[in-house]
Amino acid sequence: MSGKQEKSAEGYSTARIFGDYLLMLLVPAVVSIYYYGNAALSTLMVCAFTALGCDILGSALITKQFYIKDTSAICSGIMIALMLPATAPLYVGALASAFAVIVIKVPFGGGKHAPFVPAAAGFASAAVCFKEYVFTYSGGRDGMVTRSLGATLHSGGSLRLTATTVIDILTGNFYGPMGTGCVIIFIACIVFMAIRRKNALITALGFIVSCAVIAVLFPRTNGTRLSSLVLEICSGSLLFTALFLMTDYATQPKHSINKILYGLFTGIIFMAMRHLGAYEEPACFAVLLGNAFSSFTDILAERLQVIFTSKKGTMEVKIDEA
């Protein structure tokens, strides 16, 4: 089970990129086990092993060599598990992971060529099929705030920002998806990523900036604009999405400007879905729509480049003729 190591457009090997993801994902995974106990551990294990098993099986079916250092399937499985509530039945996570790998990753030639982020597609399919389990949060340890921040915002409510609530928000002491609440960890992960793959962060920043601007301009809460900003950024899986789903190197545009555009566009869609949509946490749907837009931005940039180059060329010819 070994094969040739693939390299991304950024020059990093897939082993390095997904190794970094795995390292970063371990921290929220540990936090989720701290908050939700064995339920979180079993969901994480089931999702990771299902994804790995499906990857091996799929590779065998299409007679493609399985590369043991390519941990993209395991990363997808863990991402899906972290976005699920701890109380979701195990088969929900298993089916979502299987969908991510068998429908999105394997048929398109692996994590490097997938047109959509596998974890986003897997979670979206689970959200569509098992809405009652995916957006119902419970089962946390004693002392956790039982109402999720997403639900508070979705119902138009607000939260007074006191020292206690801010600490609760930073440490993820709210009910919600089991691994996406702890803000401190994501800040640390952003720093880690800035050191390891800073180009990928451009999209994440574009995404967060557009979400922040919309949160300030169009608050959903009846509180201040600042509380709207803090609650929108820290609720649900916004930071998790920005860090792990938006930076997926297979679906990111090639050019830096396009990366910013892609991030902004996905952020706008995400916030529009939060304001108008039926789902409490529509991050994955927004990412999937953004993925469809992603390749279009590259094509558009290339065409514009061709047009400008040809215009420049004709202008130079005219100057020469003159």
Binding site: T63, P89, Y91, L95, V103, P107, S125, V128, C129, F130
Partner: protein, 264 residues
Amino acid sequence: MKLKFSDVFFKGAVEYNPVVIQCVGLCPVILASTNLKDALIMSALILADLIINCFIASALLKKIPRAIRVAIYMLVSLLIVLPTLWFIGSKSLMTMSLAMRVCIPLVAVNSVTAVHCEQFAVKNNVRLALYDGIAAGFGVMFILVILGVLREIIGNGSILGYPLDLTFKLSGLLMPYGALVVLGFIAAISKAVFTGGQKQKPAEEKTTEETPAEAPAHEETVPEQIELDLNYVDNENDEYAYLLSSVNELIASFADDKEGGNEE
């Protein structure tokens, strides 16, 4: 060589299936396959539409210009759909799903009919055209039934309306994306079974420098490729020239006609 019904049927319905291989007429297939009952009604309609249109195209429409022929296919399809709607009755129709209420009238503009009539029926005799219509109709029916069964059982937890005791249901399969995912896997399996999973090589252009001595060796190494001949062919040796065609080629031929007309 005289073509047998079994040859035409196997090629038209299975090896070059209109839905999963030619990717024609996907819209009604996706919308009408959420349950087996709808899938059967839709496949029966498409089968009848194909058989009648292929027969008429081959028997009566060979000398008529293409643009008029396509309009006639729609008219004929409409004449099939309207009695069907009358037979079903407005009350029964209203009990059907919204997708079926939309899809049944849309059979009149089904692209499977236009492609098969234009690419095969008008170029061949009535017997072969009928064979092709039946084959293509059953090809669509196979896929619709498979999709209908899978989507109803897994997505809705029932079969023909009778509930099954399943642990969970994947209601996402009832959505269009579910149908597309299943169709993708059926297409992949079909290709793996009937082409051995090999990638299709692009057709090599024949060079004029090729010597007669080299030609036999070339024929031995390169598998026989069927090329689309858009010229009128009225013999039974025209084996499945249409089958490698696609809607794009049909549109291209329309464009060629238009350009030719402008030049004249």
